[in-house]
Amino acid sequence: MPAGNGGLSPRLRKVLEDMAERIIPSGGPDYPGARDVHLADQVIEMIQSFPGAMRGFRAALMLWELSPLFLSFQFRTFSRLSPEGQNHYLESWEKSRFFFRRAALTGLKGLFMVRFYGDARVHEKIGYREGCLQPLEQVVPPWSPEEEGR
């Protein structure tokens, strides 16, 4: 369910939505993407569940928005880049020779994917079903003194 904006300005909201859409783009009905599952809302909801985390999150989004200005030669903020430009910018992180930039991109993927691939609608599409190989009968109980005689 939409969680409100968590105090995000329209500009930061767009940064978040653009990031989500670049990392997990939306496609046809058989290929849900970020927009199809309201991923930005889900991420906001997740961050809000950590008391006090929203402030740091807003700051991080702002940093990300401004980062192309000093990390690439395109004199535009992230949200002002075209979708292709945003993809190129993310690619520069993925292929960076600096470990921490690559690791940061993995972290970003994690941030969005923890919600996206935790979504039942997506599970259905990728064919993931939590499923046991043996029938789930009774739960095996903790040890009890009676067990000693078994």
Partner: protein, 504 residues
């Protein structure tokens, strides 16, 4: 009896013969063994109480509730190595993969030879392993619960003639539902909250959850108790105070938080070794795209091993994980990553760990938190590369179409030729993505008080009656998953406490 923080509305004062800090692999063994001998025992756990019904397959919820800091513990270095820690009743055993190995004879002999540790010869340790295995239900993975992911790895290893087999795990009635690291929803994985802790409790030990120890009390050079706070479950903030006075204090808070407590209290560090010698068994993960349907989430996620390369310091072991954790480690983002994830049913995954010689360090950081550093040495990076190469080779032998090795400049491999390329290429640590699960060694035992923290029975050289009984005490890495070793050594320490400190 197991108490929770919410059971208390006023400060708590306790006294017992033994107070144990931490309810993971080591603490509960000491608590149970000594309570069974008729001693009064109090065990304190910072995390929440858990029961089997609390576990669901939702990774986000599980990481938040049962892992420390949501599973984000990290050793800083190039590369940085994330290593999640459990923080709940049962400690990391509640969220681990359940693989059981005895300490290899070779390692026990090495400790005898290099560290002068006596009384830990394989034949002396055997009864401890047998006892532990009985209590935790150590059993081999059977074909019915192995799952196709494990079968594929065994098939590839067999094709290449590599030594391999099903793993032994602490399990009874495991259904192969594939979510061990989120907490087992069927009770099939026998974490300590299902065996040692109920036994300890039955013999009269009192177990307190939501209690964080911050102070170790010492009088005339001997440990006499602990103090700390009862935490509010939701905010994690201190709510009330508690103290326990005791004859023996047993530190079993794990390889990061045991040394941290000693450093905070400025205790037992005459050797300067507290927090040093951190080993992690850094691990790599390789995914493979198969023609066949794998449905890797069905079956025991860490089901098989390949120990062909143990002499080279590489051990291959599972794990297949759910889509939430698979997506981020597959290469690419956007359309390409998504395409791969939509073939999730055809993905297989396996991991490997290396026997590390790197020595990391735990220091007291800002606001009392640990600052963990681990700068991987080139020899260990080489082992990491081998680990990836051998795993990839096995997948190709099993029929993989593509392999994803998590090497920054080689996002995917399409033929076994690239395995050789990788082995002969120049790979830096920062080109690889490691993760670890086995921190150890930060309060190492030894026979010389000048270069070890505890004696061969886990007692501090400097503070009488203060014992360390967890993963911190190992003087080198084990080369196998540590849980059973921690338990066996904790059992040995408990016998020593009974004989030398509590009897009569």
């Amino acid at each position: 009896m197991i108490y929770e923080g919410k059971d208390f509305s006023a400060d708590v004062q306790e006294s017992a013969e033994v107070v144990v800090i931490g309810s993971g692999a080591g603490g509960p063994v000491v608590a149970k063994e000594l309570a069974e001998q008729g001693h009064s025992v109090v065990m304190l756990e910072e995390g929440p109480k858990v029961e089997t019904k609390d576990f669901t397959p939702d990774p986000f919820r599980a990481f938040r509730r049962f892992y420390r800091d949501g599973g984000t513990t990290m050793a800083l270095g190039r590369p940085a190595v994330p290593f999640p820690l459990g923080r709940c009743l049962g400690g990391t055993t509640t969220v681990n993969s359940g693989t059981c190995f005895r300490t290899p004879d070779k390692i026990l002999r090495k400790w005898r030879r290099e560290f002068g540790l006596e009384g830990i010869e394989p034949e002396k340790m055997r009864p401890y392993f047998e006892r532990v295995e009985k209590i935790i239900d150590a059993n081999p993975v059977t074909p019915e619960i192995m799952g196709r992911n494990g079968e594929i790895v065994l098939r590839g290893a067999k094709q290449l003639g590599y030594s391999s087999g099903p793993l032994t795990r602490n399990m009874r009635g495991c259904r192969g539902c594939g979510v061990c690291t989120l907490g087992c929803p069927s009770g099939g994985k026998r974490a300590t909250f299902l065996n040692y802790i109920p036994r300890a409790s039955h013999f009269g030990a009192k177990v307190y959850c939501d209690l964080r120890v911050s102070k170790l009390l010492v009088k005339n050079g001997a440990a006499v108790g602990v103090e700390g706070a009862i935490l509010d479950r939701d905010s994690g903030k201190p709510r009330l105070k508690f103290s326990v006075s005791a004859k023996l204090v047993v530190l079993a808070a794990g390889a990061i938080y045991s040394p941290l407590l000693l450093l905070k209290n400025k205790l037992a560090n005459g050797s300067g070794q507290v927090g040093r010698n951190l080993r992690l068994h850094p691990g790599i993960r390789v995914c493979a795209l198969m023609d066949e349907v794998v449905d890797g989430w069905r079956g025991v996620p860490q089901a098989v091993f390949v120990d062909e390369f143990a002499d080279e310091g590489v051990m291959l072991e599972g794990v297949f994980v759910g889509p939430v954790l698979t997506g981020p480690v597959l290469p690419y983002f956007g359309e390409k990553n998504k395409e791969l994830m939509f073939k999730y049913k055809n993905l297989a995954a396996h991991g490997a760990m290396i026997f590390d010689e790197t020595r990391g360090r735990v220091r007291l950081g800002l606001r009392g938190r640990p600052l963990i550093t681990y700068q991987m040495i080139p020899e260990d990076v080489k082992k990491g590369v081998k680990a990836i190469a051998y795993t990839a080779e096995i997948f190709f032998a099993a029929g993989a179409k593509k392999v994803y090795p998590t090497v920054s400049w080689m996002p995917e491999m399409t033929s076994p030729r690239q395995v050789r390329e990788l082995l002969s290429g120049r790979v830096k640590g920062a080109d690889l993505e490691f993760m670890a699960f086995h921190p150890m060694g930060t309060c190492r035992m030894g026979t010389d008080r000048r270069d070890s923290v505890v004696d061969p029975y886990g007692e501090s050289w400097e503070i009488k009656n203060l014992f360390v009984c967890d993963a911190s005490i190992f003087p080198s890495c084990l080369g196998v998953n540590p849980m059973e070793s921690i338990m066996a050594f904790a059992n040995r320490s408990a016998d020593y406490m009974q004989e030398m400190k509590l009897k009569g």
